[in-house]
Symmetry: C2
């Protein structure tokens, strides 16, 4: 059944092996002698082993996989005392930060169950996330500042596949999700590495056009949306591969279809509606509607998950401000699949989006060498969180607003003009 649904003659194992090779060569751009830290769902041990093999073949000095077990997470919510939810294994996050500081690359294999924590107390979920975000911060800074090369690749876990295809038998659901993953990761291209090089060139050309324009703001208009997103001073549009500060070129997200930059944290005004559900650490937040004033969300509603959304916005001062704005055409391959993935790695690549929270210093020219104060002076937001949510669709238009205040069409009906 699984085999019949494949679009070509390659076996699942062969395609999985290619995904592992893409993760190491395209995703990480791993250097000989470099250490590698992998995080992976325990069900993804097969993919983790393939990545480990390709990493050693590429000259990795040591590969360590930290396996994550969602069942154990649930056991905590079911049986742990209340005090548990402010506790975090900071020693593990500090260890990861130490690994990155000493030069290790980082690969996250992701396939989490989008509904894992849906039944749990949102207050406990928020407390646990806040504690985790605080402990993770030093390691996350090394990642967002591209001190090291890093990447995220998907894994079709049964729980994720069931959430996407609830009416299919599990085997079919998993096979369909793998097909979507392999397609989006260009696994079936005759030369996947060359296909990624071409794709990176396209995204970088698009980013270059936007950088040449140097708009002061973008204006999004569509059903339930009229939002002006001021861009940070000296912002830079990025897309596709990135040269990390250690000189290595990585593709931080596989798949990726977006070009993105840093908005100005104090210059966002208007109202906006989400166009796809947001799966936030186990809770589905649907039909978000928020209003911004002076960069800050002053009103927030959602049809489902509103309590979790409100907790998220209260995480810290920066959690109610924007740290990213990204443009993705409605005709992008992931959007064309028509699938809802309940997973940011995919859904953000199916639609234009904004992110609450932490900005990427790399999206400000010279930003990775700037102090926190300098970055804030350019308008870059700081927060413990970074949560992307989708605001683009075939009914949303985007205009660029120049420094002089005139308006130019950038996207119409969700497509590049």
């Amino acid at each position: 059944m699984t085999v019949q649904s494949l679009p070509d003659a390659r076996s699942h194992e062969a395609r999985l092996d290619r995904l592992a090779e893409i993760a190491v060569r395209v995703g990480l751009g791993l250097a000989p002698g470099q250490e590698l830290v992998i995080t992976a769902p325990i069900e993804g041990v097969g993919l983790a082993r393939l990545v480990t093999e390709h990493a050693y073949r590429a000259g990795a000095s040591l590969v360590t996989t930290l396996f994550e077990d969602e069942e154990s997470t649930l056991l905590r919510y079911r049986h742990a005392p209340d005090e548990s939810f402010d506790k975090v294994n900071a020693w593990l996050y500090e260890g990861m930060a130490a690994a990155y500081r000493s030069g290790a690359a980082r690969l996250a294999i992701r396939g989490s169950n989008p509904a894992l924590l849906a039944e749990q107390d949102p207050a406990k979920v928020a407390r646990a996330n806040r504690a985790m975000a605080r402990a993770y911060r030093p390691a996350l800074d090394l990642i967002t500042q591209y001190t090291i090369n890093w990447s995220i690749v998907p894994f079709a876990s049964p729980a994720w596949a069931r959430a996407m295809f609830p009416d299919e038998p599990e085997g079919v659901a998993v096979a369909r999700l793998w097909d979507a993953i392999f397609a989006s990761a260009r696994v079936d291209a005759s030369d996947p590495v060359a296909a990624w090089e071409a794709h990176n060139r396209e995204l970088q050309t698009r980013a270059g056009l936007l950088n040449a324009k140097a708009y002061a703001a973008l204006r999004f208009r569509g059903p339930g949306t009229d939002l002006t997103v001021g861009l940070s001073d000296g912002h830079e549009w990025l897309g596709g591969s990135t040269r990390a500060q250690n000189g290595l070129v990585c593709n931080p997200n596989i798949p990726t279809e977006e070009v993105f930059t840093t908005p100005h944290k104090d210059r966002v005004d208007g109202h906006v509606s989400s166009t796809k559900p947001l799966s936030y650490q186990g809770t589905l937040i649907q039909d978000i509607r928020v209003r911004f004033e002076g960069g800050r969300i002053v009103e927030a509603q959602a049809r489902t998950g509103e309590a979790v959304l409100r907790k998220v916005l209260e995480t810290d001062e920066g959690a109610a401000r924007l740290g990213e704005v990204a443009l993705v055409p409605f005709s992008s391959p992931i959007s064309k699949s028509g699938l809802l993935f309940y997973n940011t790695l995919f859904d953000e690549n199916a639609a234009s989006h904004i992110a609450l929270g932490q900005a990427y210093a790399s999206c400000i020219r010279g930003g990775t060498d700037m102090s926190a104060d300098e970055l804030a002076g350019r308008g870059a937001n700081t927060s413990l969180i970074h949560i992307d949510w989708m605001i683009g669709s075939d009914q949303v238009d985007v205009d660029g607003i120049t420094g002089e205040g005139s308006s130019e069409p950038v996207m119409r009906g969700g497509e590049w003009v």
Copy 2:
């Protein structure tokens, strides 16, 4: 098939759940609010989850399991560059030490494949072990000094079971190993916790008798063995449960049948032959014969694994000296099973044994409060390694040598006198 071989009506799942409860209540003596760090083979995720549940029910603040994947270890030996074998993920060992320093308990679930590295280059194995031992040292010190409560419990991995029962189908082999594990861990007692309390009292009575004697040395005599093991000044015999420095009472090994103490690092003389194979990190070392002079091994041979043994002895100055001597009657339940486990946790509890390398400060009166110099002054050995190997059998006699030089029988034909 599995079910038919069980000695009683309890299901495998119910017995596994009891083992998890014993690990938390008897092995760790976990305190409410305490953090727990588990290491487990990835195949042992089921047992790790049961332990996690019991730990949270006992009030654990947070349980983190670090899963170990032997397949990934093999991939390193097969594909990593030569430089890899001096590299270690020190950040992870430092993280674990930080967890213990902040009060976390530690459970090791062990079920490694005794032959995992048998085909690998002994020089690479030794280099990797040395790098690991160095990085692990700070965490191991917190364990050997009982700064925290800790325990080791067994898991019947397929690879371990196949090594023990090479002629059985894998399912039968695994079921037979589980039976042996459950029996040794007193899982089938009507009240396992009470059974462990009684067992601990017996071991502690035996240790008390030996402490009252305060022998200067033990003399082992049997086929290929005439060895005098001087005991450290102020040595203390221990057995069964231990009160850690954090006040919590733990059973560091499940199973355990031994009473043990710290020999004097400079006062071991004579020759000794191993009575069971030693499985050392994937290599079987069989028929060890060594000669001691002034505490140090000056000649060493083995029928198999001699190259690995020699590398072990070269680890550091203390690796060729003794850090432990332990007495176990030949009639101990694990010995009576007649099985060879290729696993120190079991085989050391089937026979009297000695250990190369690091001594336990807790086996010297007041030792956990002593400086390194004070401990050395009493005769306690230091090393990056601690490797137990079996020298007892039904043909080995043990005498106690008093301070005045007279001799008293302690064991005859492997049994307490």
